[in-house]
């Protein structure tokens, strides 16, 4: 039995759980990609799309990470194809069908970027674009999970925007700042810039997230969805800040090591993965704010015009 909204969009459990599976696999893919970079394994398989001319090379050393990343990526690509076809066949919301198509396009572009970064020997701009698109793609899959959920289909819980504490536009600042911070982090990891830019931006991004989340908790806490989403964003951001510190300190401690050290790899990959969750949580919060918080109705000025009857 499906849940129906006022617009008669039926809840499809299969479609929803498929998108959950896709989002989960995409997070695994982000972890796998983070492992490739942190283990310096990006060029362990010099050819692409095959690996050592085979579909399944010996999974040893760095090949385990690089080819493993390719295998998870192939799975995510196949899951995305099925999701997009599913959306186009059964989903009545046209914008959601097109969001599926955008996700499919993104995963194809992402695959090509991944191949190019191998064939062109890790140029920083392709590697950074590959890392950023991964984060955007993950947020897209999480948004599709949200849009296909029974929670979403029950309809919005409207609340009027408080003109003294506006939130609709402010909520967009969080995902934009997080994306910029992710780009700085990716550029630092691929040695385009120093880590100092990513580190310096961290307090600013954290401040923006605090601003958005606390404004919601202080002035829109009556809305359960917004309260839950902003609390989740705060909790994830808290973890992310400490993981960032741990990743940096472990990197400093192992600066002279001749190979990537397990502690540094663990903290750095967790920092990348929780970065993806931060981005997704900020996107979900912005979506929920834009959906539930209504712009205040324009005030009507008292009219001084006079209506006269024509003779």
């Amino acid at each position: 039995m499906g849940v129906e909204s006022s617009n008669y969009h039926r809840y499809r459990p299969g479609l929803h759980w498929w998108s959950v599976l896709l989002a989960f696999c995409t997070l695994l893919l982000v972890v796998a990609g983070g492992l490739v970079t942190s283990r310096d394994a990006g060029l362990s398989v010099p050819d692409w799309p095959l690996s050592y001319g085979q579909l399944m090379p010996p999974m040893e050393g760095g090949i385990l990470y690089e080819h493993g990343h390719r295998m998870v990526a192939t799975t995510v690509g196949l899951l995305t194809i099925v999701l997009t076809v599913w959306l186009f066949r059964s989903e009545r919301r046209r914008w959601l069908r097109w969001l599926g198509a955008i996700a499919l396009l993104a995963v194809i572009v992402q695959g090509v970027l991944g191949g190019l970064t191998v064939l062109l020997l890790l140029p920083w701009w392709i590697s950074t674009a590959h890392a950023c698109l991964a984060q955007l793609f993950f947020s897209t899959t999480v948004a599709i999970v949200l849009f296909t959920s029974p929670w979403w289909l029950r309809g919005p819980s409207p609340v009027e925007e408080d003109p003294k504490f506006p939130i609709r536009n402010l909520s967009l600042a969080a995902p934009i700042c997080v994306l910029c911070q992710l780009a700085l982090g990716a550029a630092a990891r691929h040695k385009a810039i120093g880590a100092i830019y990513h580190i310096s931006a961290a307090p600013i991004v954290t401040g923006v997230i605090l601003w958005v989340a606390l404004r919601i908790l202080l002035h829109y806490a009556g809305n359960g969805e917004l309260r839950l989403a902003s609390t989740a964003l705060l909790a994830i951001t808290f973890c992310q800040v400490f993981l960032g510190i741990a990743a940096y300190m472990s990197r400093i401690a192992s600066a002279d090591a001749v190979q990537p050290m397990p502690l540094m790899v663990t903290f750095t990959v967790l920092h990348v993965a929780v970065g993806a969750l931060t981005m997704a949580a900020s996107v979900v919060l912005a979506i929920l704010v834009r959906r539930n918080v209504m712009a205040p109705a324009p005030a009507f000025a008292a009219s001084s015009s006079r209506v006269t009857a024509a003779s």
């Binding site: 283990r39 060029l43 362990s44 398989v45 050592y52 001749v258 190979q259």
Partner: protein, 195 residues
């Protein structure tokens, strides 16, 4: 230097009776530094120096590059061997010469490469085994050497003149010294790293 942890690659680990130590900094018994690339940076007359016919060899043995630092002339052939029973990739991280990254499976035919431009030093790495790193210095002339287990170096057959000699170490960087050579004579130059 610390021992390399090869435990994630048993095929590498079992080729060493004792754990292999990293070669980033190797201090000899007499307190000298091994694996320093020495070459004449400046002062030689303009001339075309013919590269030797024999190739310079870079081996992959026990998941370690041998030698750790290699000098080669512009246009000289570099022969890359894989003595290991496992896959390696060989990535020349050069900036002036075109970089390349190629796989070298076990028992594969040797690879042959040349570098056409002066470049001192650039790393050669294996991403399958991230501790594997060697350095290549490409010189336009034959007057280069790599310090060995007594820290000394000899450049033979250098024409008389005044030269800038450069020492390059992968961790401690570059040092320069001046040296004047008279006809039939010899000259000595010492480089010191550290305080």
């Amino acid at each position: 230097m610390p021992a390399i942890d090869m435990s994630s690659n048993p095929q590498c680990e079992k080729q060493h009776a004792v754990p292999q130590k990293a070669e980033v900094v190797v201090v000899n018994r007499n307190g000298t530094l091994r694996n320093v690339f020495i070459w004449i940076k400046d002062g030689l007359p303009r001339a075309h120096w013919t590269p030797p016919a024999e190739s310079a060899k870079l081996d992959q043995k026990g998941c370690v590059y041998v030698p750790h630092v290699l000098g080669i002339m512009e246009g000289q052939q570099l022969e890359i061997l894989n003595d290991d029973p496992i896959n390696h990739n060989v990535h020349a991280e050069s900036h002036i010469n075109p970089p390349w990254n190629e796989s070298e499976p076990p028992r594969a035919e040797h690879k042959y490469k040349t570098f056409d431009s002066e470049e001192v030093l650039f790393p050669v790495t294996c991403s399958v085994h991230p501790w594997m790193r060697s350095y290549i210095g490409v010189s336009p002339h034959p007057f280069f050497a790599v310090t060995g287990d007594d820290g000394s170096f000899t450049l033979k057959g250098v024409p008389p003149g005044t030269y800038t000699i450069e020492a390059v170490h992968e961790k401690y960087g570059r040092r320069e010294g001046k040296l004047t050579l008279t006809p039939g004579g010899t000259a000595t130059l010492d480089f010191t790293y550290g305080s």
